[in-house]
C-alpha cells in the first residue's frame, strides 16, 4: 500500500544516489554546526574585549550561520519549554488558572524591553566567555517565539476528542505512552505551524539582540544583526545590501531544508478521518523517504527506542483518579483563589511602591502620555495598512491562480526582518527631511503590515463561491458589494491579522522610534524611545515603568478592543 506519494523521478533513482545525498547532507550539517558552535565557545572577556565585526561580505556566510544557530537553539528551548509548560497547564486545573493568564500577560510584554535585564543576568552567569551574551540573545529570540507555541500546544491538548482520551485510558496506556502516542501527535500540526510563524518573527529579534548597548556598555555578538549595526555605524550602503541578500537566502534555505520537509511529514497527524485534498510537497522529504539509510538507521535503533519507551512507561503507570467530594473541593478551591489574590495584590503593590518611590507619580503620567502617542502611531498604522492592503489582499484572494503564486512571496515578506530595511528608510528620511515622528509609523509598518495582507488573502479565499456568485447575480457592485459581502466575509481573518500586526507594531516601536545612521540619530517622542533610552543608561525604575506601561497598553487594547472584535467575528461573521 502506497501511503506517501513521492515523485516517480526519485523512485527511479538507483537507491545509492538518494542515499549518497542523505549521507553527504548529514555530514555537511554536522561539520557546519561544529564550526559555528566552536566560535561561540571562544574565550572573551566582555565587556572589555568584544569580537570585532568585519564588513567584508566574504564573512557573511559565517555570520549568517552564527545567527541561524542561535535561532535553532532558541527553537529547541522553546519546544522543550512548550511541552513542559503546556502539559502542566493542561493537566492541573489549579496550575492552569495561574499559568494561562500569565501566558497571556507574558505574550503582551515587549520582548525588547527585557534585553537589559537578561543581558546583565546572563553575563554574570557565564563569566569569561561570550556565552552569557549568546544566552541573552537566544533568550530574546526564545521569548519572541515561545508563548505562541505554548498556547497552541495547550489548546491542542485541551481539544483532543474525548473518545480518544477514553480509549487511551481504557487500553491502559501509561502517561508516557499517552504523551507520545496521543498528545504529541494530536498537537504536532498546530505546533509546527505556530513554530514556523514564530520562527519567522524571530529573525527580527536576532537582529535586534546581537548588537545592543545596555547599561552604558556596547555588546556585540558575531552575527547578521551586528553586521548590519556595524554597517550602519560605518554608513556602508553596499554592505547593508549584501546583508539583505544574505538574510533572504538564509530564510529561503531554512524554509526549504527544514520547515517544508517537516510540514510534509506532519500531514499524517491530521485529525480528520478522511484523506486531505492538498498534500504539502517537499523535495527534501521525498529524498529522505526514498533513501534507505534513514529506514535502516530507524530499524537498527528500534530495540533501543523500545527499551526506552518500556522503561518510561513503567515509570509512569496509569493511576486511578479519586473522586473528591464536591463540597471539599469547593472549600479548598476558595482557599486557593484567596491565596492567589493575595499574592497578586502584593506583587502589584510592590511594583507600584517601587515606581512611585523612585520616579514619582508625575513620571507615570508622562509615560502614559508617551504611551498614548505610540498608541496613536499603532492605530494610524493599522488604518493605513488596512486601507492599502485589504483591497490588494481581496483581489489576490479572489483569483486562485494569483493567490497560489503570491502567497509564498507574502509569507516570505512577513518573515523577513524589517530591521534590515530600517537603515535604508532612515537614510531616506534624513535625505528627504521627513520627521521621524511620522517616519516611525512607516518603520513599524514595514514588519507588521504583511499580517494584514496575508490574512486578507486567506479571508477572501474563505468566502464561498456561491456567495460571490449570488452577489454578482443580485447586482451588488462597488461599495455595496464590500459592505454586504466582502467586509463581513473577511472580518474574522482581518481580526486575526490585526491582533498580530498590532502586537508586532508595539514591539517594533522600541526599535523604530529611535534609529541611527552613522553619527546622526533620529528620535521620535513615544513610549518606545522612552524604554530604549532607559535601557541604554540602565535606569531600572524607568525600565520597569516603561515596560509595565507598555504591557498595560497592550493588555488593555487586547481586552477592550480585540477581544470584543474577536467575539463579534466568532458569533456574527462566522462563515
Amino acid at each position: 500500500m502506497k501511503t506517501f506519494p513521492s515523485p516517480e523521478v526519485l523512485r527511479r533513482l538507483s537507491f545509492g544516489l538518494a542515499d549518497v545525498a542523505v549521507i553527504l547532507g548529514t555530514l555537511l550539517l554536522l561539520a557546519i554546526i561544529a564550526r559555528l558552535g566552536a566560535g561561540a565557545l571562544v574565550s572573551f572577556k566582555p565587556p572589555e574585549v568584544v569580537p570585532a565585526i568585519d564588513l567584508n561580505p566574504a564573512n557573511l556566510p559565517y555570520y549568517a550561520g552564527r545567527s541561524t544557530l542561535r535561532m535553532f537553539t532558541a527553537l529547541a528551548c522553546s519546544t522543550l519549554f512548550t511541552l513542559i509548560y503546556g502539559y502542566i497547564a493542561a493537566h492541573s486545573r489549579r496550575a492552569e488558572r495561574v499559568m494561562i493568564p500569565l501566558l497571556d500577560i507574558l505574550q503582551s510584554v515587549p520582548v525588547l524591553g527585557f534585553l537589559s535585564i537578561t543581558v546583565t543576568g546572563f553575563i554574570a552567569l557565564f563569566p569569561g566567555s561570550l556565552l552569557g551574551l549568546e544566552a541573552a540573545s537566544i533568550f530574546a529570540i526564545f521569548t519572541s517565539q515561545v508563548w505562541n507555541m505554548t498556547f497552541s500546544f495547550y489548546q491542542s491538548l485541551r481539544t483532543i476528542p474525548k473518545e480518544l482520551e477514553e480509549a487511551a485510558t481504557l487500553y491502559q496506556l501509561s502517561y508516557w505512552q499517552r504523551f507520545i502516542k496521543l498528545q504529541i501527535p494530536a498537537a504536532t500540526i498546530g505546533l509546527l505551524w505556530n513554530a514556523m510563524m514564530s520562527f519567522g518573527g524571530g529573525w527580527f529579534f536576532v537582529a535586534a539582540s546581537e548588537a545592543i548597548s545596555v547599561l552604558n556598555q556596547n555588546y556585540t555578538l558575531p552575527g547578521l544583526g551586528s553586521y548590519v549595526a556595524t554597517a550602519i555605524a560605518a554608513e556602508d550602503l553596499p554592505s547593508l545590501g549584501w546583508a539583505v541578500v544574505a538574510i533572504g537566502v538564509v530564510i529561503l534555505l531554512v524554509d526549504q531544508l527544514f520547515w517544508r520537509p517537516l510540514i510534509a511529514w506532519s500531514d499524517k497527524f491530521r485529525m480528520e478521518q478522511s484523506a486531505s485534498a492538498t498534500i504539502a510537497e517537499s523535495w527534501v522529504y521525498d529524498l529522505l523517504t526514498t533513501a534507505r539509510v534513514p529506514r535502516l538507521v530507524s530499524i537498527a535503533l528500534t530495540p533501543l527506542s523500545d527499551a526506552g519507551n518500556g522503561l518510561l512507561s513503567r515509570l509512569t503507570p496509569l493511576r486511578a483518579q479519586a473522586d473528591m467530594g464536591g463540597g471539599q473541593r469547593r472549600g479548598s478551591d476558595r482557599l486557593y483563589t484567596l491565596a492567589l489574590l493575595v499574592i497578586i495584590s502584593l506583587l502589584v503593590a510592590w511594583i507600584l511602591h517601587f515606581i512611585l518611590t523612585t520616579v514619582g507619580p508625575l513620571e507615570v503620567l508622562k509615560t502614559f502620555g508617551l504611551g498614548t502617542l505610540t498608541l496613536l502611531r499603532v492605530v494610524t498604522l493599522l488604518i493605513i495598512a488596512t486601507l492599502v492592503w485589504t483591497p490588494v489582499g481581496v483581489a489576490i484572494g479572489f483569483n486562485p491562480q494569483l493567490a497560489r503564486t503570491l502567497q509564498p512571496l507574502v509569507q516570505f515578506l512577513a518573515s523577513f526582518p524589517a530591521n534590515f530595511i530600517f537603515p535604508f528608510a532612515t537614510l531616506f528620511f534624513i535625505r528627504t527631511h521627513i520627521s521621524i515622528e511620522w517616519g516611525s509609523i512607516v518603520l513599524m509598518a514595514l514588519g507588521s503590515q504583511w499580517y494584514i495582507l496575508f490574512n486578507s488573502i486567506a479571508g477572501a479565499q474563505s468566502i464561498p463561491t456561491d456567495l460571490r456568485e449570488m452577489a454578482s447575480d443580485m447586482g451588488l457592485k462597488g461599495w455595496r458589494r464590500w459592505q454586504r459581502l466582502i467586509i463581513p466575509g473577511i472580518f474574522s481573518a482581518w481580526v486575526t491579522g490585526g491582533i498580530t500586526a498590532s502586537g508586532g507594531a508595539w514591539n517594533a516601536s522600541i526599535v523604530s522610534e529611535i534609529v541611527a545612521w552613522g553619527a546622526s540619530t533620529l528620535t521620535a517622542t513615544g513610549l518606545g524611545t522612552y524604554i530604549a533610552n532607559a535601557t541604554a543608561v540602565g535606569d531600572w525604575p524607568r525600565i520597569t515603568l516603561g515596560i509595565s506601561m507598555m504591557s498595560l497598553f497592550v493588555v488593555g487594547l487586547n481586552r477592550l478592543l480585540w477581544r470584543q472584535l474577536y467575539q463579534l467575528a466568532e458569533t456574527k461573521y462566522h462563515l
Binding site: 501511503t3 480509549a167 481504557l170 496506556l173 484523506a275 528500534t302 523500545d306
Partner: protein, 445 residues
C-alpha cells in the same frame, strides 16, 4: 444462549448514583440515581434509553472511566478503582488514532501491557483476520470507509480478549446498509461461540437493534437516569426478525419508551394515570425539537389511512432513530396535537387541524396550545408583560433554567423555548442585544 442464574457474575453495579455540580453552586444535577445491574457470563445485555437517561454515563462508570458519586462497581467481585482491566470498548466515533496504521492501532492495548513486539504482531494479525480486514494492516484509518474503521475498532477490542465487550452505540455513525451488515457479522460471531469475550454490553437507542442482539434489554428512564426495568428476549438465537414475537417485543418496548410513567414488567401493562408533581415551569424539560419537525411529522401521520400509525413502522419508514423520533412525539403529545398508546400514535382533532391548515392558522393553533400546555412559555410571557418596557435580559431566564439543569442543557432549553415562542409570535428575541421582547403590536389600520 440464555444464561442461568448460576452463570458467574462478571460485573456488579451496586446502588450507583452520579451527580454533577450545577453552575454557580446551585446544587447538583443527578444523572444516575440508585442503579443496580449485574452482567453475567454468557449473556448479551442492551442498555436502552433516550438521550438524557445516562446510559453512556453508566457504561463509562462500569468501564472505570468516570468514578460514581455514590455506590460501587464490582468487577470479578473486586471493587473497581480506575480503568476496568476486564473490559474493552468499541466507540461510536471509532476513536482510532489517525496517525497509526490499522496494525498499530490494534496493537495499542497490547503495547500498553508491555507485550513483546513479535507476539503482539501475531495477535494483532489474528484479530484483523477475524474482522475481515486482511490486507489492510498497513493502511491508515483515513483511507478506510466508516464500516471498515469500526471493524478496526472491534479488532482493537478483540485482541485484548476482554471478559466483557462494551459497545457504545457502535453502529450509529454508520449508514443503514453498513450497520446492518456489521451488526449481522457480530451476531454471527457471538452465535458461533467463537467470540473473544464472555459477555457483551451494548448501549443503544435503536430498539430493533437491542431486540436483535440482546438476551436482556435494560430500559433506562430519564430525569434522573435510573433503571426502569428489563425485558427478556425469549427467542432462540439468532433472533428472527420475522418471528411474530420479535415484532410484539419491539412494539412493547416502543410503548414503554413513549410512556415514561408505566412500569416495565416485561409484559404489556395498563398505563397508570400519572400524577406529575408540581414543579417550577423551568424544571420541566422541553423536548429539543423545532416546530418544523413537529408539523412535518404530523403531516406524515395525517396522511395515513387511519389517521394514526404504529410507532415502530413510522420509525422504520422515516429511517429515524429513537433519539430523533421520540422527542418529536413528546412535543406533539405535550402540545396535545397527538396521543400515544400501545405503541401507536394518533392525532387529536387540534392536531389534525394543525397538520392540514394554512400557515397563519397553524401559528394561531400553536400559540393557543403552547399557552395552555407549556407552562414555561406562559411564564416567560408573564414576566415580559410585567415589565413596563416589555423586554427582559435573556440571562434572567437562563438563570432560572440554570437552577435545574447543567449549563449546556439550560442553554438548549432556552434555545428551544425561543424557537417555539418565536414561531407562536409570543415574544421576540434579539440575539445581538441578548434580550427578549414582547412583539410590537401591529398598528391598527
Amino acid at each position: 444462549m440464555i444464561p442461568t442464574v448460576a452463570s458467574p457474575t462478571l460485573i456488579t453495579v451496586d446502588q450507583v448514583s452520579k451527580h454533577f455540580p450545577l453552575p454557580d453552586g446551585k446544587g447538583e444535577f443527578t444523572v444516575l440515581s440508585g442503579v443496580n445491574l449485574t452482567v453475567r457470563s454468557g449473556e448479551v445485555i442492551a442498555l436502552l434509553g433516550r438521550s438524557g437517561s445516562g446510559k453512556s454515563t453508566l457504561l463509562r462508570i462500569m468501564a472505570g472511566l468516570i468514578p460514581p458519586s455514590q455506590g460501587q462497581v464490582l468487577s470479578n467481585a473486586k471493587p473497581l478503582r480506575g480503568a476496568n482491566n476486564n473490559v474493552a470498548m468499541v466507540f461510536q466515533s471509532f476513536a482510532l488514532l489517525p496517525w497509526l496504521t490499522v496494525q498499530e492501532n490494534v496493537e495499542l492495548g497490547l503495547e500498553a501491557r508491555g507485550m513483546k513486539r513479535e507476539e503482539r504482531h501475531q495477535r494483532a494479525l489474528k484479530a484483523i483476520d477475524i474482522v475481515g480486514l486482511d490486507g489492510f494492516e498497513s493502511a491508515y484509518p483515513k483511507e478506510l470507509s466508516g464500516g471498515m474503521k469500526q471493524r478496526v475498532g472491534f479488532a482493537r477490542a478483540f485482541v485484548l480478549e476482554p471478559e466483557v465487550l462494551f459497545m457504545d452505540e457502535p453502529f450509529s455513525a454508520l449508514d443503514v446498509l453498513t450497520s446492518e451488515n456489521l451488526r449481522g457479522e457480530i451476531d454471527d460471531l457471538w452465535n458461533a461461540h467463537t467470540f473473544p469475550s464472555k459477555s457483551i454490553l451494548i448501549v443503544t437507542h435503536n430498539i430493533e437493534e437491542a431486540v436483535f442482539l440482546a438476551d436482556r434489554v435494560v430500559i433506562l428512564g430519564a430525569n434522573p437516569g435510573r433503571i426502569r426495568g428489563e425485558v427478556v428476549i425469549d427467542l432462540p438465537r439468532p433472533h428472527d426478525r420475522t418471528h411474530p414475537r420479535f415484532a410484539s417485543l419491539v412494539d412493547y418496548i416502543y410503548t414503554v419508551m413513549t410512556n415514561p410513567e408505566i412500569e416495565v414488567s416485561g409484559q404489556p401493562a395498563v398505563a397508570v394515570a400519572p400524577t406529575p408533581p408540581v414543579l417550577s415551569p423551568y424544571a420541566r424539560p422541553l423536548p429539543h425539537v423545532r416546530v418544523g419537525g413537529i408539523s412535518g411529522l404530523l403531516e406524515l401521520i395525517v396522511d395515513q389511512p387511519q389517521g394514526g400509525d404504529d410507532i415502530s413502522r413510522l420509525a422504520e419508514r422515516l429511517q429515524l432513530e429513537v433519539d430523533d423520533l421520540l422527542p418529536i412525539l413528546d412535543a406533539a403529545v405535550l402540545l396535545d396535537f397527538a396521543q400515544v398508546s400501545q405503541g401507536d400514535v394518533c392525532l387529536t382533532a387540534i392536531g389534525q387541524d394543525f397538520a392540514t391548515t394554512t400557515i397563519l392558522r397553524s401559528k394561531d393553533l400553536f400559540r393557543q396550545q403552547s399557552l395552555n400546555h407549556v407552562p414555561v412559555l406562559s411564564s416567560i410571557l408573564h414576566t415580559l408583560r410585567e415589565k413596563p418596557s416589555g423586554s427582559m435580559r435573556a440571562d434572567f431566564f437562563l438563570d432560572l433554567w440554570d437552577e435545574h439543569f447543567p449549563h449546556e442543557e439550560a442553554e438548549r432549553q432556552f434555545a428551544t423555548a425561543i424557537d417555539w415562542g418565536r414561531y407562536a409570535e409570543l415574544f421576540e428575541y434579539d440575539a445581538s442585544e441578548d434580550r427578549l421582547y414582547l412583539p410590537a403590536t401591529p398598528e391598527a389600520s
